[in-house]
């Protein structure tokens, strides 16, 4: 009895591990309140709003919120009131998928913004494609999402309902490798990733490009998301004599890693992607983050003249989260959906098509044709659904804040 209890408990523990990964939480109850004069259309936004990655996730939610508020205030589409409904995916692919099902099941929903994580996007794409509903991610960077599994050899768009306002890791990884080799003059790098779609993909592209430039990848390792102790890894990094650590993943792990690495006596900078470009990285990692680097998509939000009022609104409303990484991209993604609705309504003699499926399909077509000046620059999509805006920026932690050190366009030489 006693032993079987232990065995039973172990089984339960494993079950608990799996179970805590599930569960979903809807923030707002949905309501279908279309009165005689105006039609209410819903735009779903899906991002991690609690737990891991929630700082950037909330930036996406409120970026979209401001876009919706602006459209309603300016009566961008006469006769239509837009409503934003937020879904929390907790950075879990399974939760993202059930959220996508909930969004497509909402008969007032015309499109979706999100998610934050490429791995979550993979499970959502199919759901939106079946419902012929547009999905625009402000932050997914994994190339496979738009260009197919064999994107390096033969590009093929898997889902024509999926778009993104962020550029791809192909460009981001190359841009980072170029800056590490030519800008920082680092010749040997230790590469770590978190095995997730985004992190592993980015680390791989970085490594390939860094080697192509003449640098040396001295060793690689992988971590699990949720890991806290990196003592063993830090010793390996120190022993490898690498002069740079490249990390593909999110700030939750990289902030701990950089702190433990510097405490452990390996004083080399950590260089990562847009997944760790957040103030939380600096807050969680403390002084150890000084000198660390990250690439981020686009140009710094603070330097965009068009984003000025956006940032003021964000701050004035006291929204939580960090708009710096994707807020402006989320705003643009949401605006693209709203403008597409406008185009559909205009083409239909100023009336909203009564069949929601018809409306959704037409919105997809119109999003593909998007061409306007957004907060982050020109918003337009190529034949794969990728943004045509390919600007990237390298940021470095200086005196406890991210500071832009280089902005440019990646060169795929």
């Amino acid at each position: 009895m006693r032993r079987s209890l232990v065995i039973l408990t172990s089984v339960l523990a494993t079950g608990a591990l799996t179970l805590t990964a599930c569960g979903s939480r809807d923030d707002n109850g949905g309501s279908d309140n279309s009165d005689g004069d105006t039609t209410t259309l819903t735009i779903g936004v899906d991002a991690p709003l609690s737990g891991e990655n929630s700082t950037t996730g909330l930036g996406i939610q409120y970026g979209a919120q401001i876009a919706v508020d602006d459209a309603n205030k300016n009566k961008l589409v006469p006769g239509v009131t837009f409503k934003l409904k937020a879904y929390d995916d907790k950075a879990q692919p399974a939760t993202g998928q059930s959220n996508a099902t909930a969004i497509t099941g909402d008969k007032t929903a015309v499109g979706a913004v999100g998610p934050l994580n490429s791995g979550v996007a993979q499970t959502m794409q199919q759901v939106f494609a079946s419902a012929k509903m547009v999905q625009i991610s402000p932050s997914n960077t994994n190339p496979e999402l738009t260009q197919g599994k064999d994107w390096q050899t033969s590009k093929k768009r898997p889902y024509d309902t999926y778009f993104r306002t962020a550029t791809t890791d192909e460009l981001q990884g190359s841009f980072a490798a170029d800056y590490a080799y030519n800008g920082l003059k680092k010749k040997s790098v230790f590469v770590v990733d978190d095995k997730q779609t985004y992190g592993a993909g980015l680390a791989k592209i970085f490594s390939e490009q860094f080697k192509k430039l003449g640098g040396k990848v001295v060793q690689t390792d992988h971590v699990n998301t949720g890991d806290k102790d990196f003592g063993s890894l830090v010793t390996k990094i120190k022993n490898s004599k690498a002069d740079l650590l490249y990390y593909g993943g999110q700030y939750d792990e990289s902030a701990l890693l950089t702190k433990q690495m510097k405490d452990g006596g390996a004083n080399i900078p950590l260089f990562g992607g847009d997944g760790m470009f957040a103030t939380t990285y600096i807050e969680a990692g403390g002084a150890a983050t000084e000198g660390d680097l990250a690439t981020a998509i686009g140009v710094p939000a603070d330097t965009l003249p068009a984003a000025k009022s956006f940032i003021e609104t964000y701050k004035a409303k006291g929204y939580k989260g960090d708009y710096g990484a994707y807020g402006a991209y989320s705003y643009d993604a949401t605006t693209a959906i709203i403008k597409a609705v406008k185009a559909v309504v205009d083409a239909n003699d100023g009336k909203v098509p009564s069949d929601i499926n018809d409306l959704r399909a037409k919105v997809v077509e119109e999003v593909q044709k998007s061409d306007f000046e957004g907060l982050s620059g020109k918003v337009a999509f190529d034949e794969y659904g990728d943004t045509t805006n390919k600007q990237l920026t390298v940021y470095q932690v200086e005196k406890g804040a991210w500071k832009a050190v280089k902005t440019g366009t990646a060169d795929l030489g």
Binding site: S50, D221, H222, K236, L256, K259, D263, G265, G286
Partner: protein, 309 residues
Amino acid sequence: MNTLPQQLANGLLLGSMYGLIAIGYTMVYGIVQLINFAHGEIFMTGAFGAFTVYFYILPDGTSMAVAVPLMLIGGGLVAILIAVGAERFAYRPLRGAPRLAPLITAIGLSLALQEVVRNFYPGADRAIAFPGLDTTHDIGSITIKDADIFLILSAIVCMAALAYFVRKSRTGRAMQATAQDPDTAQLMGIDTNRIIVIAFAIGGFFAAVAAVAYGLKYGNIDYRMGFLMGLKAFTAAVLGGIGNIYGAMLGGLVLGIAETLASAYIDEIPGMQQLGGQSWANVWAFCLLILVLLVRPQGLLGERVADRA
């Protein structure tokens, strides 16, 4: 550079932390045969208690030499309060129930504690920066920092105090008696309810010590920190022989060292590159657990108990 001494030190540190938490699992199991799955969350609340003392109560700029003992007291109080409260309100009403009932209650309690902290502690929806003890020392080829020394010392002191308490004190002996046979112990005039409360309180305090060490070492805490640590500590308790306090500490050390060495060296074995590195550490740790349980189902130091149903 020979990395083995450093890796052993890394493993020893991680293992001490597992061991400190595992004590809580093993003491409670030894006395009431309950696996208190909420113990990982008691560890987490201890960390938040200590952080509250540091951030909200102590004036800015308090020296760490003063702050750390006060954090231990604050974190310890919170953890003990929650552990004892859990016993009183969640487990005691189920004392006579089938064993699955308190087990499920424990899992529910663990989720409830996580959500309470996440929703009601200011800023707890993401990682909170914890003050660190980051001064480093080089001893030969080993680099350790003050937080590591704190961890090792507190593990030794706690373990020694516990051993003394259980063996020499009246309450400790009553505890042993209750573990052996609760009914007979009660007939001999031992207040078993009091003993059970003491077991929960000691477990809670040790978890809080581990939590303070965790915060000082890793520099941040979050509401989910107890889940994986709790699971690992439970594994350590089973590995060492659940019910045996020395086994819990030994199990923790073995688990910590095994994990660290596996992640450090397995990928250097030709043909094993794919199975090595940090991300496989847990896999190897659990393989070790299965192996040990195959050979010694009662755990490393566990006693074969045949007379208990």
